[in-house]
C-alpha cells in the first residue's frame, strides 16, 4: 500500500489510454513510475538520442515536442497535463525522432515500458490508442472523441500530422538508398533499381558517393542505344552528385534541385560528398511533402462535414500561426494565410447549415464584421456577423426571415462548436436585429450615418468593417455602395466616429508608464486591445471611410493605402501600419502563450527591450490623434 501511488493512479485514470484500465492495474503501474522534474528549457530527450526504457506522461507543466530542420526548431506539439508522449520505444527500435523540452518547469511521470507492456497486450483499447497516438507523434487531448476508436478523417493530413508551416517542414525521404559500385554494369543496376522500386542508384567508392544514375540516365543513355547495356555504370552516371545535409527542408531541397537542374539529391552525413550516404531525396518526395500546405488546409475545410472536423482544422491553424511566428515570417503574410483559412471555415459553416436546412428561399449574403471583416483574426476571438437577404414580397417576408434566422442559428452554433465564441454584445446574424432584408439594412445604416447620436448604443463602428463570407456579391455591393454614398461629406457622422476613436484610453500615463488594469482578473496587466490596437483600428477605419477606400479592410493595408491617397501625411500612416504589426505580434504571442485572445499582456513577463519596443509602437498614435482632430475639426469638442 503506497499512498502516492494511489494519488498517481487517481490522476492517470482521468486520461486515455489509462481510463481503460482498472484502478488496481493503475496502482500497480503507478508503483513503478519514476517522477522527474524538468526545469524550464531542460531537454528530456532529443533527436537521435538512444530510446529510454520508459514513456512519459505530463503531470504538470508543459513539454514542447519539436523537430529541427535547416538548423531551426519547429514545434510539433505542446503536451499539457495528462498528455502522453515519447511512445517511440514501444514500437520502434531506432532512436528518438524529436526533441522533448520543458516549456516551463514541469513534472513528468516516466512509465517503464516493461511495466506497461503486459497491460497493452491484454487490452486492445489501450493498444489501439497507443498505435494511433504513435502514428500522430503525440496526442492532443482536445481531439479526444476523434482519437478514440477511429482516426479523425480518412486523409493523410491527420494520419501524418504535419503541423508546421508546411513549406519549412523537413522531408521524409528514402533513408536506405540503393548503393552500387562503379564496376557494376548497367543491366545489373537497372534490375536492382526495378527490384527496389527505386528511381535512382548511388555509386559509391569507399563508402563515399561519386555519382548517381537515375531513370533519366537509363532512358537517355542506355535505352537510346548510346551506350551498350553491359557498360559499367560509372560511364553513364551523373557526377559529381548534388549532396545535402540531413534534416533539409522542403524549401531548400526544392531550391537545390532547381539550381542544379537535377531530380535527385543525395543526403550525406555532413552535406558534402566526402561523407557517408544517408539517403536519397527524389522529386517525388517533394511532391508528397508539398501536399501538406495551407492550400490543403483550405481543401480540408471544404471537405469537412461537422464542427468537430472544423475545430481540428482551426487548431492546426493555430499551430501553423505559432510556427510561422517562431520562424519570423512577416505577420502580414501570416495574416493573409490565416484569414483565408478562417474565411473558408466560416463559409463552410454556412454551407453545412444550408445542407441541413435545404436551399434558401431567397438570395442572401453572409457578412463578417469586426475583426473577421477586417481579415486580421489570428487568434480565436468571438464571432461577429450579419445576414442580408434580398427584398421579398411582404407576404413572404416572415417565412423568409424565419428561414434565415434558423440558418444563422445553426451556423453560429457550428462556429461556436468550432471554437469561435458568440459575440458578447450579440453582434451575430442569429440575432433578430442583425438578420434582415437589404431595404431594412439600408435603413439601418442610413439611420446610423445620418443620426449617429440617437440610438447610438446600437451603433458599433465594427459594422463598418464588412466582408463577404458567403452568398450574393451583388447584395453586399449594393449595401456597400449605399454606405459610401451616405457618408460622403456627412460631417456629423465623421464627427461622431472621430470622437469615438479619440475617446479610447491612452496606453501610457503622464509619466510614460504603462497604464495597467486596476481590477481583477487582469489586474496589473496591460490591455493591448483597447489601449493600443483599437485606436489604430478605429483611426484606419475612419480615414478609409473618409477617403472612400474600398476593398481594403485590413488595418495594415488601410494605412498603406492611405499613405498613397493622402501623400502629405504618408509618414504618419506608414508609422501606424508598422506599429499595428508590432502591437499585433505582441498580442498574438501573448495569446498563443496563454491560449486566449491575448488581450491582456503580462508586462512582468516582458524583457526590458520588449517593453521599450512596445512603448515605441505607441508613438504614431499621438500623430494619428492630431491628424484626426485637424481633419475632422474636432478640437473644439474634445
Amino acid at each position: 500500500m503506497n499512498t502516492i501511488a494511489e494519488h498517481i493512479a487517481d490522476f492517470l485514470k482521468e486520461y486515455p489510454p489509462f481510463d481503460n484500465l482498472t484502478f488496481q492495474e493503475l496502482s500497480e503501474i503507478a508503483a513503478n513510475i519514476r517522477v522527474i522534474n524538468l526545469e524550464k528549457h531542460k531537454t528530456l530527450f532529443q533527436i537521435n538520442d538512444v530510446l529510454h526504457d520508459c514513456f512519459y506522461v505530463v503531470a504538470s507543466g508543459t513539454v514542447n515536442l519539436s523537430v529541427i530542420s535547416d538548423a531551426e526548431e519547429t514545434l510539433l506539439n505542446k503536451c499539457h497535463a495528462g498528455d502522453v508522449f515519447g511512445l517511440r520505444p514501444f514500437f520502434a527500435k531506432n532512436n528518438y525522432m524529436m526533441t522533448a523540452k520543458a516549456r516551463e518547469e514541469s513534472v513528468i511521470y516516466g512509465i517503464p515500458i516493461a511495466t506497461f507492456r503486459p497491460f497493452v497486450a491484454n487490452n486492445p483499447n489501450v493498444l489501439n490508442f497507443l498505435l494511433e497516438s504513435f502514428a500522430s507523434n503525440t496526442w492532443n487531448p482536445k481531439d479526444k472523441e476523434n482519437f478514440r476508436g477511429k482516426l479523425a478523417s480518412d486523409n493523410f493530413f491527420y494520419a501524418e500530422q504535419k503541423n508546421e508551416m508546411q513549406y519549412f517542414q523537413s522531408l521524409t525521404y528514402n533513408r536506405s538508398p540503393l548503393v552500387v559500385s562503379a564496376a557494376d554494369n548497367a543491366k545489373e543496376v537497372a534490375l536492382r533499381m526495378t527490384e527496389n522500386l527505386s528511381t535512382s542508384a548511388v555509386i559509391c567508392e569507399n563508402n563515399l558517393p561519386i555519382g548517381i544514375v537515375t531513370n533519366t540516365d537509363m532512358c537517355s543513355k542506355i535505352a537510346s542505344g548510346l551506350f551498350p547495356i553491359t557498360i559499367a555504370v560509372n560511364s553513364i552516371m551523373s557526377s559529381p552528385v548534388v549532396t545535402v545535409v540531413e534534416n533539409v527542408s522542403l524549401a531548400e531541397a526544392q531550391l537545390l534541385m532547381l539550381k542544379n537542374n537535377v531530380s535527385h539529391l543525395c543526403v550525406t552525413h555532413d552535406g558534402t560528398d566526402k561523407s557517408v550516404v544517408r539517403g536519397i531525396i527524389s522529386e517525388h518526395d517533394l511532391i508528397v511533402a508539398q501536399a501538406n500546405n495551407p492550400g490543403v488546409l483550405i481543401k480540408e475545410v471544404k471537405r469537412s462535414l461537422n464542427p468537430k472536423e472544423l475545430r481540428q482544422i482551426r487548431e492546426r491553424l493555430a499551430e501553423l500561426i505559432q510556427n510561422s511566428i517562431n520562424k519570423n515570417i512577416p505577420l502580414s503574410h501570416i495574416n493573409n494565410i490565416a484569414s483565408e483559412i478562417n474565411s473558408a471555415i466560416l463559409k463552410r459553416a454556412v454551407e453545412i447549415s444550408i445542407l441541413e436546412l435545404g436551399s434558401p428561399p431567397a438570395r442572401f449574403s453572409w457578412l463578417s464584421i469586426g475583426s473577421q471583416g477586417r481579415k486580421e483574426q489570428l487568434l480565436l476571438t468571438d464571432q461577429d456577423s450579419i445576414l442580408v437577404f434580398e427584398d421579398v414580397p411582404s407576404d413572404k417576408y416572415r417565412d423568409v426571415r424565419d428561414y434565415f434566422l434558423k440558418l444563422s442559428k445553426k451556423t453560429t452554433l457550428i462556429l461556436e462548436k468550432t471554437g469561435y465564441e458568440l459575440c458578447p454584445n450579440g453582434h451575430i446574424a442569429s440575432n433578430m436585429l442583425w438578420c434582415k432584408s437589404l431595404t431594412d439594412w439600408t435603413k439601418q445604416y442610413d439611420s446610423w450615418i445620418n443620426t449617429p447620436g440617437e440610438n447610438s448604443n446600437n451603433l458599433s463602428s465594427i459594422f463598418f468593417d464588412l466582408d463577404l463570407v458567403f452568398g450574393e456579391k451583388k447584395i453586399f455591393e449594393a449595401l456597400e455602395n449605399r454606405i459610401f454614398e451616405s457618408i460622403e461629406n456627412n460631417s456629423l457622422f465623421f464627427d461622431f466616429l472621430g470622437n469615438d476613436a479619440l475617446r479610447k484610453n491612452a496606453p501610457l500615463t503622464f509619466f510614460k508608464k504603462f497604464v495597467r488594469e486596476e481590477e481583477e482578473p487582469n489586474k496589473d496587466k496591460f490591455d493591448i486591445k483597447t489601449r493600443a490596437l483599437m485606436p489604430l483600428i478605429d483611426g484606419a477605419r475612419l480615414f478609409a471611410l473618409h477617403f472612400s477606400i474600398r476593398g481594403f479592410n485590413n488595418t495594415y493595408l488601410r494605412f498603406k493605402q492611405l499613405a498613397i491617397i493622402d501623400p502629405k501625411n504618408a509618414d504618419i500612416y506608414l508609422n501606424c501600419a508598422e506599429a499595428f504589426l508590432v502591437l499585433s505580434k505582441f498580442r498574438v504571442n501573448e495569446g498563443l502563450k496563454n491560449e486566449n485572445s491575448g488581450q491582456y499582456i503580462n508586462l512582468d513577463e516582458l524583457t526590458k527591450l520588449d517593453k521599450e519596443k512596445l512603448k515605441n509602437a505607441f508613438n504614431p498614435m499621438k500623430d494619428l490623434e492630431e491628424l484626426i482632430k485637424s481633419n475632422f475639426k474636432l478640437t473644439q469638442f474634445s
Partner: protein
C-alpha cells in the same frame, strides 16, 4: 576501519552490522524521509509513522518507498491517548523495533533528505539507542537549508508550506508522512538542479 574497536565492547544486532557494512561503498541513492511524532522532545516523544521515497538518477521511484505506522501502545497508554488513528489507518503497521529495523534496511547508505532533517534523524537515533544500536551514519541534506543557500538568505526559516507555495506545488495532498515526503522529494529535485548538485 576501526569499527571492530568500537564494536568490541558491545554486541550490536545483526541488522545494524549489515547497515554499517554498507558504508564501504559510496551512496548512489537519495532517500527523502519524514517522521510524524507525538512532539518535539526526542526522549519523551515517539515516532508515530515514517514516510519515505528513494531518488535515483534524478527521478523519484514511486515503487522504491517505505511507509509504516508504528504501534506505540505503551506511549499512548501512558499518556492516555486514543489509538484510533492507528487502528483506522490502512498503512502497514509495525512495532517500533521492527519498523526501525526495516527502515534501516531500507535506507542503507543513501544520502538522507528531509525538511529540518536534524530532528527526524535525532528521533531515529533515539529509537536506535533503545535497540542498542549506534547513531545513523548517513549524510543528510536539508531542503530548507538548500533553499536558503539558493536565495542567499540566512535570517529566516521556511516551512514546508512556504516552500510548496514558492515552487507552486499543490498542498492538498499533504496528510500523511508519505505525502509530505513526496512533496519534499519534488522540492529536492527542483533545488538540486537549481543548485547544480550532481
Amino acid at each position: 576501519m576501526l569499527d571492530w574497536l568500537k564494536n568490541i565492547n558491545k554486541e550490536y544486532p545483526d541488522f545494524w552490522k549489515t547497515y554499517l557494512s554498507k558504508f564501504e561503498e559510496k551512496p548512489n541513492r537519495f532517500v527523502v524521509f519524514t517522521t510524524e511524532t507525538t512532539g518535539l522532545n526526542p526522549y519523551k516523544d515517539v515516532i508515530l509513522s515514517i514516510g519515505s521515497f528513494a531518488i535515483v538518477k534524478n527521478s523519484i521511484h514511486i515503487g522504491d518507498s517505505f511507509e509504516t505506522v508504528l504501534l506505540q501502545y505503551k506511549y499512548l497508554h501512558d499518556n492516555g491517548l486514543s489509538n484510533e488513528f492507528i487502528i483506522e489507518s490502512r498503512m502497514k503497521k509495525l512495532s517500533e523495533p521492527d519498523a526501525i529495523q526495516a527502515f534501516i534496511d531500507y535506507i542503507g547508505n543513501s544520502v538522507l533528505i528531509g525538511h529540518h532533517i536534524d530532528f527526524d534523524v535525532e528521533m531515529i537515533n533515539v529509537s536506535l539507542e533503545r535497540l542498542g544500536c549506534g547513531r545513523l551514519k548517513n549524510e543528510a541534506l536539508d531542503i530548507d537549508v538548500m533553499y536558503r543557500k539558493l536565495i542567499d538568505a540566512n535570517d529566516k526559516q521556511f516551512s514546508l508550506d512556504e516552500l510548496s507555495d514558492i515552487f507552486k506545488l499543490p498542498k492538498t495532498y499533504r496528510n500523511t508522512p508519505s505525502e509530505d515526503a513526496y512533496t519534499m522529494a519534488l522540492l529536492f529535485l527542483k533545488l538540486k538542479s537549481r543548485l547544480g548538485i550532481k
